[in-house]
Amino acid sequence: MFQVILKRLLMLVPVLIGITLIGFLLLQVMPGDPASRAMGTRASPEELEAMRRLWGLDQPVWVQYLYFLRDCVTGSFGVSIFHKLPVIDLVAARLPFTLGIVLYSTLIALLVALPFAIMAALNRGNPVDSAIRQVFVVLIAMPPFWLCYVLILWLALGLGWFPTGGVGDGFAANVYRLFLPSLVVGLSTAALIQQSLRSALIDTMKADYVDTARAKGLNGRAVFLRHILPNSLISTISIIGVRVSWIIGGTVVVEKIFSVPGLGSLLIDAIVSRDLPVIRGLTVFFAIMVVIVNLITDICYALADPRVRLE
């Protein structure tokens, strides 16, 4: 087990270096001089020169990359022009909200996808199965940012059940206030994982140990609850792992609309105020977050499935 984790950690190193390289290239391909693009037309030549020196723009490209790599390794991810703070400080204050939506929406996605996946798998090939598939086709066709407004119009402004946005103090308040944004991300995730969950269930139903359980004389219900379901749930861990990047990306859109002060809002604000170090630092941070969550799901999968450990 320890070796599996160690091997995965070592495989991460080139990916992490690649992520920082892409983050670095992002600002490198920008047309014009980054300093004057960032400072606008008001800056004096002296200010621009100071800016260039601060960012190391007077250095050769590879030195500039090493500077950025140093910022990532030491954990600051660069310094914001607008807030005059290390990017990581901005991230730290907003991360809990984004992680909250990621976890909350994953929970909602599972609660929506699982019953439908079970129903579809039990009815595979018949009208119930295809009806469920069509429901999820419609769900996936709904643009998340539009769905946000439809829900605001219907559940917040119309029925008054939920606030139109913002966050509250404490866990309970946020479970309530973050419900709509998490629902939007959760529904689009549910649409993506329902299909894989259905096939995972169908594959498990065909496994030899399920035949054995039936041959022992267990009834259908017991076979399903004790053998098919637990084993399919293990595979959902890896299905979610594959979709992590999608879930985290989905938070960007909903945070802005529901005024949640998370990483997504920070990214949009940075783009609007042309805070280039924040755009770069955050983009890299998002990718690292995806890689870490992937690692965690891989480890959970290995812990839950003995076959992976024995490889």
Partner: protein
Amino acid sequence: MLVLKNLPRSPAGAIGLAMLLVTLLATVLTPWLSPWDPYALDFGAAMQAPSASHWFGTDNFGRDIFTRVMAGAVFDLRLALICVFVPMAFGVAVGMVAGFFGGWVDAALMRLTDIVWAFPFYVLVLAIVGVLGASETNLYVAFFLVNWIGYARIVRGETMLISRLEYIEATRVLRFGRIRVMARHVLPNAVTPALVYSMSDVVLTVQAIAAMSFFGLGVQPPAPEWGILIVESIDYMREAPWMTLFPGLAIVWIGIAFSLLGEGLSTALKPKG
């Protein structure tokens, strides 16, 4: 061509195709169906609810929403198809070379996809457009940079499988040139799963184009882009919900059409046996 014959045979494919044809027909017939100007302001007719003369109602400037949604259909479909099929062509080419020849091209492609896939789609597109500046051209650049990789990875895997099949072995015995083998014998089969994938890609790309306009980072007003129609409606959402509803439903409609087309294609392209 065989595909076009087989596509309507699966119910999903037939419905998807029909939905798309209805859309195209409606855009062509718009001047007769709804004889309004999509841009002309008419404050006397502002924010009218849907009626027989204004099917989807009017917006805060008195512009007919049906006409604007139809103009948006032409606009968004053109944009989405470019943002999907240009990267697809490049990705298919790279994927085939990587899968057919292997070696360092293949190794580099695999590492690159591992890295790029760590970035959430919206984060990367937003960051690229954010750095380059908001414009239609930069939208193409961002989608190209992000989208080709999926196709390269799919076609690479497919090409590796096909290259080991007997009929490709046979071309080696016949001493066919590698280019000829790739273009005539590998490509038609390797491109199939990429084509099915491209349909779901269109669904997500239409949404992403609208989302980018929503953040003010995509196509700029007064283009009748669906995302722009939705953004401009937000302030009037309470008084005139149809302004928000119909452009969004247009995105949903196109999304369903392409999802069903994808389903139909995967059935139609599946080898019999």
